[in-house]
């Protein structure tokens, strides 16, 4: 741990407003003197909580991709659409730019998030001192891109709400959408429970020693 990190100095850093404060010995649960947030040196049980959420997401991502996310019923029969078949539909109808976008947001991003978080957790558990800066950047990237996976949830919502014309077709949401929504929310929680400061705890005082600025 870096000798000047708040935890090493016996201080609390607030998650919400970044203020550094001295703990009161009498308090069992410390609160930030400025914003009132509960203070922890590190997010509590960060590694095990993030693992728990991550494993749940690994399980749910299978039905999210295999089960249909919507069902279209029309005079000509019914059709079930998975996330991937929705992408293929966009591609074959000529909207290849949107097809790529949806493929990225709905397929690549969730999987990349799971892999990246797994890597971050393993590196923290092995107390790897390597590339802390790059790992922190990776963490920020996955916090930033995670929300874009919600795209397909909104598409399903709008299609279901609009296509209710009896003469045309009826679109209903299917169980895959629930699993997919759960994956997005759970991976967002997983990236919130992960504490990036753990990346730096095992680098000692040489945080800038082996990586490029």
């Amino acid at each position: 741990m870096h000798p000047h990190s708040a935890a090493a100095l016996g201080l609390y850093a607030c998650h919400t407003c970044a203020l550094v404060s001295q703990p009161h010995a009498a308090d069992e649960i410390a609160h930030c003197p400025r914003c009132g947030s509960v203070l922890h040196r590190r997010k509590p049980e960060s590694v095990s909580r993030t693992w728990a959420l991550l494993i749940t997401a690994y399980i749910l991502i299978i039905p999210a991709n295999v089960l249909p996310i919507m069902q279209t019923g029309s005079l000509f029969g019914s059709q079930r659409d998975t996330i991937l078949s929705g992408v293929l539909y966009l591609w074959s109808s000529g909207s290849w730019a949107l097809a790529l976008l949806v493929f990225f947001a709905s397929v690549i991003v969730p999987i990349a998030k799971l892999v990246a978080l797994t890597y971050l957790l393993l590196s923290v558990q092995q107390q790897s001192p390597r590339n802390p800066q790059r790992r922190t950047k990776l963490y920020h990237l996955l916090k930033f891109i995670g929300r874009w996976s919600m795209l397909d949830i909104y598409v399903v919502t709008l299609l279901v709400a609009l296509v209710q014309l009896q003469s045309l077709a009826t679109i209903q949401a299917a169980p895959g959408a629930v699993a997919f929504g759960a994956v997005v929310v759970i991976t967002m929680f997983a990236s919130m429970t992960f504490d990036p400061r753990m990346i730096w705890d095992s680098t000692g005082g040489h945080g800038n020693g082996n990586n490029t600025q």
Partner: protein
């Protein structure tokens, strides 16, 4: 307490002094390079103006239909809340809740709290601290820009099926997009935190 309180980097926990910044400046962590805080080029009145504009648009966006479709003389249109209700009736409560929360509740609550924080004279109260904490916690869950992209994908998918009639709310959401992006750059929680007293 000293006038320049100590802050710690949220990424690597390094303790450092807050330094005053020039307008538009960015303070980064000495060790890991993370952005610690910015000094907004714009004042609080800019943020307030943006919030009020966004709030008005959000209200209109929720009253009027987003899009409608027309086919063989049939017309069907839906508001955002109508879409949530349809999903709810189809036992898709989780998705209905998620859409309601991320597109309706979070932006509405966030704008309300921000407007209150910028006009209140009780900025030093515990209530203001609680409100600001809520705003900071809610930020990752506001997904208006993702919704806008979903709207675009839906329109493309539907255009093969029926004639599309864009609704008033569609333009409102389109206008909300740059407003929220601007709000992200002008709103500076640190300036509000700095106005709040420390409890002993």
């Amino acid at each position: 307490m000293p006038t320049n309180p100590l802050i710690a980097c949220h990424d690597c926990d390094l303790v450092q002094h807050e330094v005053p910044l020039p307008l538009g400046g960015v303070a980064t962590c000495a060790r890991c390079g993370a952005v610690l805080y910015r000094s907004s080029r714009y004042g609080k009145s800019h943020t307030l103006a943006l919030c009020i504009t966004a709030a008005i648009l959000l209200v209109i966006a929720n009253i009027f239909p987003i899009i409608g479709i027309e086919s063989q003389g049939n017309r069907h249109q839906s508001t955002l809340f109508g879409a949530v209700q349809t999903l709810w009736q189809e036992d898709m409560g989780l998705i209905a809740g998620l859409v309601f929360f991320t597109i309706l509740l979070v932006p509405a609550l966030e704008l309300t709290l921000l407007i209150w924080l910028h006009v209140t004279s009780r900025i030093t109260s515990g209530l203001a601290a609680l409100a600001l904490r809520l705003v900071v916690a809610m930020q990752p869950w506001r997904m208006v820009e993702v919704f806008m992209l979903g709207l675009l994908v839906s329109v493309v998918k539907l255009s093969h099926l029926a004639h599309i009639v864009p609704g008033v709310a569609l333009w409102c959401f389109a206008a909300l997009l740059p407003l929220f992006a601007l709000l992200n750059t002008t709103f500076n929680p640190r300036e509000l935190w700095a106005a709040m007293p420390l409890k002993q």
